[in-house]
């Protein structure tokens, strides 16, 4: 046993030394997670990331309230004191629609001619919000924000009106006008303080995904490369246990995977303000378990594939659906039922789920015990299948 461990470390050491000397591979190793995080972090919008969104407004209103509403929109500021909307004036509803077609604006508001009049006469009045259906994600965010602002503006108008009435009626003095306008107030509470944005939802998934890619692709590429170069024969002809070869290679790839996972985590914290509510050691444990669950698959692919290219193609075929099905980018609950069944067969699903619970919700080890157990079982089963397969195939 001691000899197997010694040989394992010898192979790991050699693999890592070889890797750190290869500038191209080293550069890719660091650039990949950085590129991935920056790309995903900046592309996927969250509520706070609405900045200078061009919004069209056409005011047919004969009174002054429409203009006041326009001012409210124009002055609205978000993160870092940056304006949320760049207001652009249009002459009518059709012109706003043309503006959206030309993509000059990401949405529009039409205030009809009797807007102020209706409000003054205590009648309900309309406002038309025009959506940009070419961009559902931005459109949903813009519409949500616009509705919120209009509702807030309406409530403030209602408040003023009721105040004026209540002053005239002494019996009502004890009541708050706001209790009439919004009798029910909702209070949001979470497990941890603050709200989670989409990037925070994705960051744990990306971290696990990067680790998985490093282990699966790296392991298969490493073994196939040695097969092609002929150096694997040099190792195979040494009087060492075949298990040491597999373990040595898997350990080297795991170290790389863990380092990449840590890079992703640091970037997520520093660049995108992701907060880790759970224990960092638990985060590391989930990474390790993720690595353990993928190693078997990596070994199996590298045993079957005789060339690097075949290994990469085989893995690509397997990895791509796994990425979309395991809840890295989209919640599993949104998928059709049969896809959810498939998702529950994939180790990545459990690694992502555990990582999300620890990072976002601050879960402890007891809260992720099911995920831990499943990852261990998956890793164990794949290793039991892959190790003898590897041994048999390399000397068949």
């Amino acid at each position: 046993m001691g000899r197997i461990i010694k040989d394992t470390f010898e192979i790991t050491k050699k693999d890592l030394k070889e890797f750190t000397r290869d500038r191209l591979r080293l550069a890719t190793f660091f650039i990949m997670p950085i590129f991935m995080m920056i790309l995903v972090g900046f592309i996927f919008p969250n509520q706070n990331s609405l900045k200078n969104i061009p919004l069209g407004i056409a005011i047919d209103d004969q009174g002054k309230i429409g203009e006041r509403l326009n001012k409210v929109f124009g002055e609205l500021k978000g993160e870092n004191d940056v304006k949320i909307f760049e207001m652009k004036k249009y002459k009518g509803l059709d012109e706003i629609k043309d503006g959206i077609k030309k993509q000059e604006i990401n949405g529009g508001i039409f205030i009809p001619g009797d807007f102020s009049k209706n409000i003054s006469e205590n009648k309900q009045t309309d406002i038309v919000i025009i959506q940009d259906q070419s961009n559902p994600q931005i459109s949903a965010l813009v519409t949500q924000t616009v509705i919120k602002i209009i509702e807030g503006f309406g409530q403030s108008l209602g408040n003023q009106k009721l105040n004026a009435i209540f002053i005239r009626w002494p019996n009502f003095k004890k009541y708050s006008p706001q209790a009439f306008i919004t009798p029910i107030l909702t209070k949001l509470e979470g497990i941890v303080p603050g709200s989670t944005n989409y990037f925070e939802f994705m960051a744990p998934g990306i971290m696990v995904m990067v680790v998985m890619t490093a282990v699966l692709t790296g392991l298969a590429a490493s073994i196939s490369r040695e097969k092609e170069q002929g150096t694997l024969d040099g190792i195979l002809i040494a009087p060492i246990n075949r298990l040491a070869i597999i373990l040595g290679k898997a350990l080297a790839q795991s170290v790389r995977g863990i380092v990449q996972g840590i890079i992703v985590l640091i970037l997520a914290i520093l660049l995108f303000g992701v907060r880790v509510y759970g224990n960092l050691l638990l985060v590391l444990l989930v990474v390790l378990l993720g690595v353990f669950s993928f190693v078997g698959l990596g070994i199996l692919v590298s045993a079957i594939a005789s060339e690097q290219e075949t290994a990469t193609q085989l893995l690509f075929m397997f990895q791509l659906p796994m990425l979309f099905l395991s809840g890295v980018f989209f919640p599993i609950q949104q998928m059709p039922q049969f896809m959810q069944y498939i998702a529950h067969l994939l180790p990545l699903t459990y690694a992502v789920s555990a990582m999300r619970k620890v990072i976002i919700l601050g879960a402890g080890i007891a809260d992720i015990k099911n995920e831990i157990l499943i990852l261990l079982v998956f890793g164990f089963i794949t290793l039991v299948i892959s190790v003898p397969t590897f041994k048999r195939i390399i000397t068949r």
Binding site: R3, D7, E10, I11, K14, K17, E18, F19, R21, D22, K227, Q229, G230, T231, D233, G234, I235, L236, I237, A238, P239, I240, S306, I394, T395, R396
Partner: protein
């Protein structure tokens, strides 16, 4: 003389394709044994079985008195292999490569150091020991590759095309070195397409064709069997035995039909 390699009725099949077909031969201790054959004849497959890198389909193979299947680790402790592909890592230095393979063979660091220094000096590579192998010429790489195979001071050294693509100077150095090793008692199994090399180095030569041993004798005895030529060379012997048609081989898997005619253009499966 005592036999260090015994091959009895060895057969290796890859699905339907018979790469080695029921061959038997022995290699005596201390001889240089030339193993010749056209492309795809079964030479490399046989060498890979003898060096434990492939499992035989049937037959018995003993190397240094150990069975290659049941006692593979014991066999590995007695052999060295210089394969066609150079078994070195480009991103490691010559010394790092040799230390790595030495440790995998469970040699103490002191012994590795001692042997590495001795062989580096002998093959004129001492000054390059700390340079990356990736920057070496083919000849330099091959010299380090040979040292790698000698780290365990093996009883038997297998060499598959050791001088392929090398300049005459390095080829000469390697030939002299192999003779020197042999004079110290190392048994050498040499696979080559270079007939002159085989003729100059080998005590006995086996010619393998279509997976079978077509001839096995000393170079002189083989030459005497060629009647039509006045002063035949080993190449004449080789062509007389294996024919003059070109043996094209494909690297991809090709399943041969059962009525494959010997001597016709032949496809072979790449040996893993």
């Amino acid at each position: 003389m005592e036999a260090v390699i015994r091959v009895e009725n060895l057969t290796k099949k890859f699905k339907d394709f018979v790469a080695v077909d029921n061959i038997s031969f022995t290699v005596k201790k201390g001889e240089i044994f030339g193993f010749l054959g056209p492309n795809g004849a079964g030479k490399s497959t046989t060498i890979r079985i003898l060096t434990t890198l492939l499992r035989p389909t049937s037959g018995k193979v003993e190397v240094s008195g150990f069975d290659v299947v049941r006692q593979a680790d014991e066999v590995r402790q007695h052999i060295g292999l210089v394969a066609e592909k150079i078994m070195l890592y480009d991103h490691l230095t010559a010394l790092e490569n040799l230390q790595f393979f030495g440790r995998l063979n469970h040699l103490p660091d002191e012994l590795i150091k001692e042997r590495v220094e001795k062989w580096l000096k002998r093959l004129h590579m001492e000054e390059w020991k700390n340079a990356l192998v990736g920057n070496f010429s083919t000849g330099m790489k091959q010299r380090i590759n040979i040292i790698r195979a000698l780290l365990t001071e093996p009883e038997i050294l297998f060499l598959d095309e050791p001088t392929l693509g090398l300049d005459p100077q390095t080829t000469r150095l390697i030939h002299e070195f192999l003779k020197e090793l042999n004079s110290r008692g190392v048994t050498i199994i040499l696979t080559t397409h270079n007939m002159l090399e085989a003729e100059n180095l080998s005590n006995r030569v086996a010619i393998i064709d279509h997976g079978k041993i077509a001839a096995l004798d000393t170079v002189d005895n083989l030459k005497n069997k060629v009647k039509d030529i006045k002063h035949p060379t080993l190449e004449d012997v080789f062509l007389e035995i294996t024919g003059r048609e070109i043996r094209d081989t494909l690297k991809q898997k090709v399943v041969l039909s059962s009525h494959h005619r010997p001597g016709a253009i032949r496809t072979t499966k790449r040996v893993r």
